[in-house]
């Protein structure tokens, strides 16, 4: 199971279009769609709160220092702009996951990935049901489901 922090990071990098293809596929797999959606909703809400807070900060600074030649809230304004852009892309991803959930879409590669993932999970179940000790390769194999390479 991918940890909360790690999952949030994966979602965030995907929003910025900096995630590698494996990470993208993991987020879009059927098993992770709801979790991905929840993470996006949380991110959007956090960014909205942050923009709201920063806007008030900027207003207060401009009000307190009206005679400054340069905008006293210049750097805050830049942060707001960046946050707004991030939110825009997060909302695009939310629309994507909503569409995937609604249409139950799955491309052929995702079906094959699901097949291999099932095979790995069954291998794990089988090993555990026979109470056999897991060796290094087994643990590394099971970690691969979360996109980790630990061989």
């Amino acid at each position: 199971m991918i940890s909360e922090d790690q999952f949030a990071l994966m979602v965030s990098e995907d929003i910025k279009n900096k995630a590698d293809q494996t990470t993208k596929d993991i987020l879009r797999s059927k098993d992770n769609r709801d979790r991905w959606r929840q993470a996006l909703i949380k991110i959007i809400s956090n960014v909205e709160k942050r923009v709201d807070y920063l806007s008030k900060e900027a207003m207060s600074l401009r009000h307190n220092y009206p005679n400054f030649e340069d905008d006293p809230a210049g750097s805050i304004a830049k942060t707001i702009e960046k946050s707004e852009r991030f939110k825009f892309h997060a909302e695009k991803k939310l629309a994507e996951v909503d569409r995937l959930i609604f249409l139950k879409e799955e491309n052929p590669d995702a079906k094959l990935s699901g097949f291999l993932k099932d095979a790995i999970l069954m291998h794990k179940q089988l090993k555990q049901s026979y109470k056999r000790p897991a060796d290094h390769a087994d643990v590394a194999l099971w970690n691969a489901i979360d996109g980790k390479w630990t061989f």
């Binding site: 494996t22 993991i26 099932d118 095979a119 026979y130």
Partner: protein, 147 residues
């Protein structure tokens, strides 16, 4: 920072040229070692930042503005950098382990296929006799799922 470490670091940030990427692939062990050092260094930095942030926030708990916002931003950046460094480490481990070419754009399906192949290689190379479950798993590479 030495040239090699700069190349590794720029590659983590996805800012390296095609030539640099090829150069790294031809120096896998050095690349892997540099990545291990980077991941360890960044992990220590994150721990330090955790402590500093906690201290600042508890010392100046009455502040209206977060007294550790600058450090918090640094920590976010460091975590993000480590995330990508770990991805690169996974990539070079796959290259070393499988001895075949992989690329950063490889899909989850290739990743899982490689993992099953690596499992098979490890079991056979370490003289373990494969169990029924292992053999059934490996058959999945040929599209069979009979577990």
């Amino acid at each position: 920072m030495k040239d090699f470490e700069i190349i590794v670091s720029e590659d983590i940030k996805n800012k390296s040229s095609g030539t640099d990427k090829e150069f790294l692939k031809s120096h896998k062990e050095e690349w892997r070692n540099a990545l291990l050092v980077i991941v360890k260094t960044v992990s220590n930095k994150v721990k330090e930042l955790d402590n500093e942030i906690d201290t600042l926030r508890s010392t100046y708990s009455g502040f209206e503005i977060d007294p550790a916002s600058g450090l918090d931003e640094q920590r976010t950046k460091a975590n993000r950098f480590r995330f990508h460094a770990e991805k690169k480490l996974a990539e070079v481990d796959r290259l070393i382990g499988l001895g075949t070419e992989t690329n950063q754009d490889s899909k989850l399906i290739d990743f899982l296929r490689d993992a099953i192949s690596a499992h098979k290689v490890w079991v056979l190379e370490n003289g373990h006799s494969p169990r029924k479950g292992d053999e059934l798993l490996w058959e999945a590479l040929d599209g069979k799922l009979s577990i």
